[in-house]
Amino acid sequence: MKLRRFLPVLASLLLPILPAHAAETLTISVWGGTFRDALAESVGKRFTEQTGVELKYVTGSAVTRLNKEKLAQGADTPDVLYTTGHVGWLYKSSNLLDDLDVSKIPNVSTLPAGAMLSPAHIGAWSYVYTICYRQSLVPAGMTFTSWKDLWNPELKGMIGLHEIDPSHIIAVASKLSGVDAANWADAQPLLLELKPNIKAYYASDAMSQDQLSSGETPISVALASNCYHLAESNPDIKVAIPSEGAVGSTDVVAVMSASTKKDLAYKYINLVFDPQVQSELAKALKVSPANPAAVLPDELKDLPGMYASPEKFRAETIFVDNKLRSEKLGEWRQWFSENMMNQ
């Protein structure tokens, strides 16, 4: 009699361990916001239509997601990874990525040499970090024709920089100091001179947009794509490409080694490099496509920070080798937090 009373309770405890009958899903690890939405629209919908497989997204900053995967060590892993080129090297060195079988990705056959940043990750699009500013809140006539303008004493307490990844400003300081990023120690005095002009650091792209929009940091070294999106609703926001060039970066796509759905992952990745999809992503994200067969919309072709070819991108940006960037990131971050970020 007593056991019968507890049967419903026991049954409800057993429910979670019964096999799920949900549709198969493919898990995509990506940044949130605009990137997730654009990929869901351009790649996700097509993928689901073609395969019947639903997509699930896990979002966060590149470094946050890397930390999570390093700690999880394959448990509950996503299947496809989007991340930045240098963070991709950190995934590879942690044995979290499979070497790509490009025979399963026909759409990458037209990509130029150098698109494969490593055997495990391939560039999906390129973009720049540059100077974005509120024209009405900076000294009159200031247009940032050179990165050196950031050191202008009139800009005291006005600049926002990336908290987690200082590689952009370090690449700039190295260029201005006449050294390459590998010898960045020679650029440290110049970096320390910039300190009085820095107001705050942002931990995410969303925070950089908040700081710029609200005017807390009237000047920001930020992702050009995000600044163009802000400028659509606030014409006071301007994007400047200094004469030395913006800081170029590449986002990559890869297959997680612990994934159990690799065939589906390859089908998904092949779609990412479809010329039509690449055009749509370029328009939505204001990024430069990786596939030369992609057609850049007219309104984007002449936009500062957009490059019609990977060759033009490499020639006109301050580009730090992604492997070097991944090796130096910890050292850069440590120095930055100990010398630049304190009051």
Partner: protein, 289 residues
């Protein structure tokens, strides 16, 4: 189930096993984490090397000693300000005769607890910003010519932390004030003491255990605050918690983060032990036990 003597065991006896399991799990997890403090950091990986004390020597660098001292200062300021601002609220909450007034104060005081640290901190971004509520009022009324710099400063962090901890201080003080026998206050009044004298010579001393308990609690709580200093500080105000996060999860230097954590744990334990000891001395000396 009866004991050997035939008495039924106390209810608390049944809690020993689950409590013990939880305690063992927590201690083992902390030990695993803290042992990293004595290991060499291998850059770019989660692996650790051999035994070293270098992580502790590194804490002598100005940024780390400044972060420790600043965190202690912010916690002390928060505890003091919460006491000064929270005591009148708690007093009115206990002594008000009007039921609706008590309810209103209680709801307003406790409401921040329901919104979470991050939501409250983002709210403070709007209030403290250069074009936020405070500056709009200050510049609009002519109190200041230029907006005050509150965001991304220690001042802004302390203001937000005071509000973050205020509900807890009010709860502790309310409990203490409600235990003061009002007959003692009436006796003092009947002997000619003014209301102010009655408060300072009767009520306040009798609430000393609550004052000390609330101050120590808020001090310990704000020492470990993370979300508020991270958001309001904007990377320019470093506390122990934000440094540990940055060192561990941005630099991947978990041995140094563990050394910071262990040092912070020992420091906080020492401060609380000294503070608690002083509090007990004061309470005993005043015969308030």
């Amino acid at each position: 189930m009866a004991t050997m003597s035939g008495e039924r065991p106390r209810f608390a006896t049944y809690m020993i096993v689950p409590a013990g399991i939880v305690a063992v799990v927590i201690v083992c997890a902390m030990a695993l984490m803290l042992q990293d403090a004595f290991r060499v950091h291998v850059p770019g990986t989660l692996d650790v090397g051999g035994f070293t004390l270098d992580n502790f020597w590194r804490l002598n660098r100005p940024i780390y000693t400044k972060a420790f001292l600043d965190t202690l200062l912010y916690a002390a300021l928060c505890a003091s300000l919460d006491l000064l601002l929270g005591y009148p609220i708690a007093y009115v909450l206990v002594r008000a005769r009007s039921g609706w007034l008590k309810s209103a104060i209680l709801i307003i005081t406790l409401m921040p607890l329901f919104s979470g640290d991050i939501v409250r901190s983002y709210g403070w971004l709007v209030v403290l910003g250069k074009y936020g509520v405070i500056n709009m009022f200050a510049t609009g009324t002519g109190l200041v010519a230029e907006p005050l710099q509150l965001l991304y400063t220690p001042t802004g962090v302390v203001i937000a932390l005071v509000q973050y901890a205020m509900p807890v201080m009010v709860i502790i003080l309310t409990a203490s004030i409600s235990h003061v026998d009002t007959n003692l206050e009436r006796a003092a009044s009947s002997l000619g003491a003014s209301p102010i004298a009655t408060f300072f010579r009767v009520t306040l001393p009798l609430t000393l255990p609550g004052i000390l308990s609330g101050t120590i609690t808020i001090f310990a709580w704000t020492l470990s605050a993370f979300a508020t200093p991270q958001i309001i500080g904007g990377g320019r105000v470093q506390t122990i918690a934000t440094l540990i996060y940055g060192v561990g999860f941005s630099n991947f230097n978990f041995p140094l983060a563990a050394a910071l954590s262990l040092t912070a744990l020992i420091l906080i334990a020492l401060v609380l032990a000294v503070g608690g000891g002083l509090a007990r001395m004061v309470i005993t000396a005043r015969g308030l036990t």
